[in-house]
Structures are given as structure tokens and as C-alpha cells.
Subunit: 329 residues, 4 copies
């Protein structure tokens, strides 16, 4: 049976999911809600859905699941509301900027037995998945060290920074999740160095734009994350995992892979410009995974617990960077 | 206005086009015809089209264009029939295995002022297009030499070989078109060496499975084509253009780009398994280009003339390989 | 005038330098000293030098310079002895395992105005130098972040570990120097996570075999170092520098660069097996630089001060890893 | 015993060999002859050899072997003279520009049982050798198709072109040899297209600067050669061999392998500037192989017969290009 889905939030990421749903035969987008009516209408028009209020969606028994793509400060409320309404919930990261609020939300989900999947899209990237598969197949032996390079093409505007929760909760949170996905063990200590090298305005807002983080697990496995809000050559997204028998790495992706050779050397074009193009396949696979989850009773990946842990790692990194201490979890 | 399209032929390549149409908002597949009813029904079901006969499609004034994906020996007849019916025609290569028949068909198209675009999908591959753009932007100066490597993962079955017209008309025909697309000048001489190295059955049918072809233009520009019906590592599709100021090359494509390093070295996965996955983006762009052509009066690329020339080059290559002569056009 | 050099220590690295001297027309190896007579004789035979005692070398006024390639615990004494003898000194890293002893040695060098160059060979690697040149030419703008991957093919024997001073003083010390070489600013804080993942015997000796280190400068520039005593695919030596206008990376090197493609994918051979082959060109350039230094009065690079700072960074990393604190310098 | 060698011809390639001999402990350069005294003296000075006349070298019984690096029109005479003098001969390609003269020379060598090795340096390149080893180890199965890309950085001066014997005898001759080295079967037919695209002066001298050649063996194996006298990005030297189980390719080589990424993309430096730097390791291995040959009685590779065959292929290619025919051998 085709699953009927509703989209809450018609912004940039909402559009990405609407497109992914349109290309999946197992789902149909039937409703879109957004405080900004025009944005909702645009997606509705493009996908054959109807513009509805959140209340209407909540009350509509024919709707099987919702995708929460609204501003972060509404995530926890909406998760609770829709698991109580009996709908499967897909929610963009993070659950909330506040760990306590996020924990309370997770408790509600547990208590009502709600179905919630978190939007860490990178787990679904075919290249990152292939890295994970190589690990699972034993091709590199026991995992020892993970290196994640994650750089945005450019810094977001000040308005975004203000509500983002800071670089660790907004940007590194994806890398924390990927680190855990690859390490195969829980992280027990965090150390982070962070500074303002890209844009002084980010510093004025109390945030950082450049960070290096080391995560360590109980058995001593280590993950390194290198973050910057600037990469002139495109969206830099690499993962490398080093193990007892070898290494496996996911290379950067570019829309066009040609190479021009001339007296100045050999030049390949820049990388994808940002996540919408870099992770197109990941978003499609993410929706597909959400539909699998709706149909089955297996645990979701990533789960709301994964969201909680990533958030705690972000808080630990912030504390480490600010107070210049190693934070033990 | 959304263009209404009909698909003639519901085989492998028909399915590819149906999928591309489904993802293009400017078009809608409304009818599918195939001698094998089940195949037509399957595509119709998946795309919301109806199964119709060729006669019904021909008579349906609401249908704007047709895609001819039927067996080769029906192409010329169907092109003539549908340009006479006033419909825009997209036809898979080749026009016909016989140059005379193809020329007569082209003459009909000209006389009725018909709109025909040929299905040389590789012109629409984003990587090959980027090579062409690099040339057009003057990045490599004046084109001098083109090298095309084009190898199928495996040999087709004998039944296919029998009706294929042979390696030059079936497989190299794409490379002839790409060579012309890159050379920017007409070819005036052809030499080919061909042999049976992959499968003796192909030789028993009078065909070849391995070929090396050199094309030369009036000003002395040269193109080399290397063809094989076997490539254990996937669908090998490369183009390199050498000019007075530099070179530009389109690299091979693989579905997943990871690299595993261990004591045996560094290993990346095989290439795409064949054209359906390798040229997904090309097929989408091809349909989009057909829609552009339907909407405008600009000359199509590739045109039926391009189809004719490629066919003549195939015949020349066959003569060269069989008679061990250099063929001047 | 050809410079006459003496080699103190005829072990693995001594042999490497003897070979480099043999290929440089500006120098001649005239004497070799080693407690193990056969080793000294072998190098002497191969290079046309004579076996001598340290005393003889010290007393020989015709000898212009010495290369100290003896065990670490003799370095400081020999440096002091030979600068006092008025000879130019090239000394393998580290100056000493003890910072105090190293500082005292540096003080002696300063007081007698001695000429000492430290053996951080990687500064002379043509690829790493090219990275530095790209920085100096402004191609990546202001340096922001450095990533160093440095993994040995395999763990050394326990006897070596015992006298090595531990992973930070023995192995990471090279990476500390390269980090400084690339950062262009002094490091003000160090944090390190270290564990035993490769060989439990290393742990029993109180050392680590896997480490992740983050270095930060006063202005907030960051360097990450990833170290392991195991890399099944060869000697993994990469540097990447990220700046305000772009990035520059030195790729890994392999003795043979072919690629085999088959049904299992595309495979390139492993990397160089260790430093003797990986850094052949670096060792030659290092000797050449030492000869330049002997002829001129410019400051050496790397200097004994560079050696001191690297040692202090090693101590800081060890403290950070053991005590789980961020160490401020 | 160290072999005493004499160098006939102190030009560019003579210097290359003198340097290779200097680094090989099994040989010593004892004499250098050249009509241009200063050139001979320069090499003699650098290598500790003496300047001698050809007559003196011929008469010196202590000299074990000679390297003929004189102008092409003296090769055959000198080969004959020195095999008659009982010396091992290493001769740069080609034996002569005239096949008849070359055959007569080969006959003299056979009749006196002379030791002659031809200077096809590329057989000794570690990357090309590794390609050949991969074939020999069965990693790509039965060889089917070879693709050789061989482009010089720039066209030589007119004076060189005049005495060069033309592009096929001067430049492609190396590729003919490598094609045979990889094909593992004798070539039975040749077709070539050649033109003047780089420098009209080359055309005025009756030569070509751009050529595409297809070679075919009796069993139908094919080799393609792409030649140009211009490659703005450096000395382009690639070989790819396609077989029944896979492919193997030797990649281009560059002196420095860094990559700079910025808003314009990812750029690696140009290739080596020409053969002296590209084939440094090959020249060393070539001398080593000549010394092996001097010490043993095994057949040389490449032999004078290999030189003869390459010359015949050059003549066949010239005939094919000029007369527009396929030439059967």
C-alpha cells in the first residue's frame, strides 16, 4: 500500500524531501504545512499535495507519516504531538538544541511506543554506506581510527548562525553521527579545538567557524573530525576508516568528472556546491528507509537515541572548546 | 503546455525513456505500444499511460510526439509514418541497417518538413558534454586528436548479434557520432582493424567483437576508437580530446566511489554495469532536449543527418576491416 | 671545494645518508665510525671512506662536518663535542629524549656559535616542499587547518620501543615538525588521545601505538595528526593544508603506479614500504641543504631550535594523552 | 669485476647514460669520444673518464663495452666496428634509417657472434615493466588490445627533423617496440593516418607531427598508437593493455604530486618535461640490464632484431600514411 505522507515545513530541506517522495513509488505526499503559505503552495503544486494546517494533518487518519522540516525549536513539540497522533515521524536533526528537552521528547516517544526516525542523511549516502559495508564485510579488519573531513562551501548568514545552536550542534552533529556509525563503539571522551578563522561576525555571535575534534571510545578507537565553514572548492565531505587489516575511504563527489590538462597542469572541476546536490541519492535512500521502517518493526537507523547521543557529543565538544578541557562522557 | 508522448516499443531502452519522461515535468507519457502486450502493460502501469496500437497513436491528434524504440528494421517505416502524421519523432539509432533505406527515410523527413531527433544518448552525458564545452570555451585550443574507448561489459547473445547489423552499425555507431561531436569537422577517411577475440560464435555469425578504428578529417584531425565486446571491470566509456593548447578527458564512472587499501594495494569498485545505469543522466537530458526541440524551431542535435553519417561511417569501417583497405568518403 | 664528511653511526639511517652523500658532487664521505665494526666497514667499503674512531674524526682537521646517526642517548653529547671541535653538525632527531638535556645542548651550541642542522627529513620531500611552496605563493590564502596522516607500515620490535622515548618522541615528532612547517605560527596548545590498538606488547612497555593529536596556534589555526604503527597498505604519509582561498594536499607515493582493472575493481599497488624508499629524494635534498648551510651563513632549516620545540610538543602530547588534559604551552 | 665502458657520443642522451653508469657499482665509464671535444671533456670531467678517439677505444683491450650515442647515420658502422673489436655494444635506436643497411648490420653482428643490445629505454621503465609483469602473471588473461599514448611536449627544431628519418622512425619507433613488448605476438598489418597539425615547417620537410597507427597481429590482437609532437601539459607517456580477464594501465608520471583545490577546481602539476626526467629510472635499469647481458649469455632484450622489426614497422606506417593503404608485413 502506498504510504500517505505529510510535510511539515516547506523550506529548503522540505523541498528536498518532497522531491525524493515524488520519485518513490511506495509513497505519496498528500499534505504540506508551512507558516509561509506561498512556500507550502509551491511544493503542493509541484507534488500534487494539498496545503493543510498542522491541526488538519494531525486529525487526518489517512495520513500515515509526517516529515518534520520546520525550525529546530519546534521539532520536539511536533515529534511528541505526532507520535501521540499515531503517525510515523521522520524528523530533521537536531531533536532540540537543549539536551534536557530532547531527552524529555525521547521519553515521550518511548512511553507511547512512537515510531521516530532521525534525519541524519549521510548514513544513506551510497559512498558512506559502501564504506560501512566494507567494514561490515571485514575488509579492513577491526576499526581503529576514523577521519572525517566536513567543510561547508561557505558560512551561513548571521541570522542562521543565531538560531543554529552553534557549529557543533548545527554542523558537526552530522559528523558525530557518522563517526559513531563508523566506529561501531560508543564514544567516551571528547576534545575539541575551535576558533574563528572565516568570518569575525560568527565570533561576535559567540560561535566558531573552524573546529578540530577528537573522539575516543572505551577501547581506544579514535575519530578525528575537521570542520570549516569555508571550502572554496565546494562541499568537502570525506570519510576514511582505518582498521587492523586496511583502510577504506569515501572520496569527494563532483557533478562533472572531466580533467583538462594544459601548461598549468591537470584540472578537475570543483565539488558539488552543497548538500542538495551532493546528497541527492542519500535523500532518496533516506525516504526509502523511512518507508521500510513504517512497514516493519525493526529499529530505525538513525533512531531518536542516535539523535540524543549526537546532541550530547555536541555539548561535550562545546564545553571542551570553550573550557579547554577533555570531556569524559 | 505539457507535451503528450507515446512510446513505441516497450523493451529495455523503452523502459529507460519511460522513466526519464516520468521525471520530466514538461512531458507526460500517455500511450505505449508493443507487439508484446505484457511489456507494454508493465510500462503503462508504472507511468499512468495507456496501452494502444500504433494505429491508435497515429490517429490520436492529442499526442505531440513519439519515441521509436522498436526493433531496428521498423525504424525507417515508423519515422516516415509519424512525421507524416505530424508528430515530433525521437528515434533510437540506427535509422536502418541499410544506408539506402536510411537515405530514403531522411528524404521523406525533409520533404514533409518532419521533426526528427536521433537517439545518440552519449551527446547528453554530462561528462561528455563538459568535454565538448571545454572545447567550445577554447580551453584546449584547436582540436587535433580524439581518443574514444568504448567497451561493453560482455558480448550480447547470438540472437542479438544476428539482427544487430554487426559491431560497427550496432556499437561503434555511437562512437562515430561522438567522434564527430568532438572533432568539429567531417570525416574523410576510415580505417579499421577488426577481429574475433571474445567469442568465436560472434565470428561464426560473420561479425567481429574487437575493433580499432582510425578516422581522419580533411584537415588531418584524427580520431581513434577502441571497441571490445568484453570488459570485465564494467562499462568502459571514455573520451579524450587533444588540442593545440591542451587536452580534456571524461573519466569512467562508477556507482560507488570508495577505495579500500590493504596489503594487496588500493582497490576501487568496478564501473557501472551497463548503459542503463551509466547513462541515466544522459537519458534524462536527452528527453529534455527532445522537448526543447518540440517547443522550438532550432535544428535538432543529433539530427537524422547525423544518423545517416554515422551509418555511412559504419559501412566504411566494415569495408575497411573486411577488405583491408583505407576507405575514403 | 668538496666538503669532507664523517658519518657517526652505521645503522639503517646512516646507510641512507652515505648513499645520499655518494650521489652529491659537493661532498665526500671520508670517515665512518660505529661501535659495530662490520657495519662501519660495509659503508666504508661501499663509499670509499675509512673506518675511524670518534676521537680520530674529532681530531681530524680536514673533516668539515659530521652526521650523527648514532643511538638517541648519544646525540646531545656528540653535538656538543663536535660543535666544540668546530665542525658542522647534522644530527638525526631527536636531540635527546629529555627536554632539559636537549635545552642544555642547544645552549652549548649557541654559546660556541656552532653550526647544527636537525634531521627532520620530511621538510625536504619534494611533495611536501611543493605544498609549502603553494602556501608561500599564496595559492591557498591564509593557512587555517593542517591535516597530517602518518602511519608506519608496521610496529617496531619491543627493543626499539623501549629506547624510543615513546610514540610521540619517536614518530609524531616528525609530524609536529611538519605541522609547524605548514602552520606558519607557533603552537600554543596540544591535545592528544592515544591508545594501544595494534600490539599489546607496546602497551605493556607503557607506550601507545595509535594516536590522534590536535595542535592549536595563538590565532586559532589548527593541525590534526593521525598516527598509527600499522598500515597494511604501506607507509602512509599525507599532508593537507586548508586555507582561506583553497586547499593543497600531498598525495601518497608508490614505487610503481599501474592500475589493474578486473571483475573485482580497479587496483593500484601498495605504497612505498617505509622511509628509506619513500623519502629517497628527501634524503638527497637534505644532504644538499646541509652542504648549502655549511657554505653559507643563513639559518638552518630545520634548526636545533626546531628540534627543541618538536620535543616539547611531544612531551605536551604525552601529558595530554596520559592525564586527559589540554596542555597549554 | 667492474666493467669498463666507453661512451661514443657526448650529446644529450650520452650524458644520460654517463649519469646512469656513475650510479651503478658494476660499471665504470673510462673513455668518452665525441667530434665536439668540449662535450666529451665535460662528461669525462664529471665521471672521471678520459677523452679518447674512437680508434683508441677500439684498440683498448681493457674496455669491455661501448655505448653508441652518436648521430644515427653512424650507428650501423660503429656497431659493426665494435662487435668486430670484440666489445659488447649498446646502441641507441635506430640501427639505421635504412632497413637494408640495418639488415646488413644485423647480419654482421650474427656472423661474428657479436653482443648487441638496442636502446629502447621504455622497456625498462618500472611502470611499463609492471604492466608487462601483470600480463605475465596472468592478471588480465590473454592480451587482446593495446593502447599507447605517446606525445612529446614540443616539436623538435627543423635541423633535427631533417636527419630524424621522420616521425615514425624517430618517435613512433619506441611505441612500435612497446606495442610488441606488450602484444606478445608479431605484427602482421599496419595502418597509419598522419598529418601536420602542430608545425607547418614539419610538413614542408615532408614529415608529419600527428599520427594514429593501428597494428594487428596474426591472431587479431590490436595495438593503437596515438602520437603528437605537442603536449602542453608535459611528456605524455601512457600504456594500457586490455585482456580477456581485465586491463592494466601505466599512468602518467609527474615530478611532484600535489593537488591544489580552489574555486577553479582541483589542479595537479604538469607531467615530467621530457624523457631525461621521465625515464631516469628506466635509463638506470637499462644500463643494469646491459651489464647483466655482458655477464651472461642470455639473449638481450631488446635485441638488434627488435630494432630491425621496429624499423620495418616504421617503414610500413610511413607507406600506409602516404599511400593510404593498409600494409601487410
Amino acid at each position: 500500500m502506498v504510504k500517505k505522507l505529510a510535510l511539515l515545513g516547506a523550506g529548503r530541506i522540505g523541498k528536498v524531501h518532497a522531491r525524493a517522495i515524488a520519485e518513490d513509488k511506495r509513497a505519496r505526499l498528500v499534505a504540506v504545512a508551512d507558516a509561509f503559505a506561498e512556500a507550502a503552495q509551491a511544493i503542493a503544486d509541484a507534488s500534487g499535495a494539498e496545503v493543510k494546517t498542522i491541526e488538519q494533518i494531525e486529525a487526518d487518519a489517512s495520513i500515515d507519516g509526517v516529515l518534520i522540516c520546520t525550525p529546530t525549536n519546534t521539532h520536539a513539540d511536533l515529534i511528541e504531538r505526532f507520535v501521540r497522533a499515531g503517525k510515523a515521524v521522520f524528523c530533521e536533526k537536531p531533536i532540540d538544541l537543549d539536551v534536557k528537552r530532547a531527552e524529555a521528547c525521547a521519553e515521550v516517544v518511548r512511553s507511547v511506543g512512537g515510531k521516530v526516525m532521525l534525519g541524519f542523511n549521510r548514513r544513506f549516502d551510497p559512498h558512506f554506506r559502501a564504506v560501512r559495508s566494507a567494514i561490515d564485510e571485514g575488509r579492513i579488519g577491526k576499526v581503529e581510527m576514523v577521519t572525517i573531513t566536513s567543510r561547508d562551501p561557505g558560512a551561513p548568514p548571521a541570522e542562521y548562525i543565531k538560531v543554529s545552536g552553534g557549529i557543533f550542534r548545527d554542523m558537526t552533529i552530522h559528523d558525530f553521527d557518522i563517526a559513531r556509525f563508523m566506529l561501531g563503539e560508543e564514544i567516551t571522551s571528547v576534545m575539541a579545538s575551535a576558533s574563528v578563522l572565516v568570518d569575525p561576525k560568527i565570533g561576535e555571535l559567540g560561535d566558531f567557524d573552524s573546529a578540530s575534534i577528537v573522539l575516543t571510545t572505551a577501547s581506544g578507537r579514535q575519530a578525528i573530525i575537521s570542520n570549516s565553514r569555508r571550502a572554496t572548492y565546494g562541499y568537502d565531505q570525506r570519510v576514511e576508516v582505518h582498521g587492523s587489516l586496511g583502510s577504506v575511504a569515501a572520496e569527494n563527489q563532483r557533478p562533472v568528472s572531466i580533467e583538462v590538462a594544459n601548461k598549468d597542469g591537470y584540472t578537475r572541476p570543483p565539488l558539488h556546491d552543497f548538500f542538495m546536490t551532493r546528497y541527492t541519492a542519500a535523500y532518496a535512500a533516506e525516504i526509502s528507509s523511512f518507508l521500510d521502517y513504517m512497514e516493519q518493526d525493526a529499529a530505525p537507523s538513525p533512531s531518536i537515541e542516535d539523535g540524543l547521543i549526537a546532541l550530547k557529543l555536541a555539548d561535550a565538544a562545546l564545553k571542551s572548546a570553550r573550557e579547554k578541557v577533555v570531556v569524559t562522557l
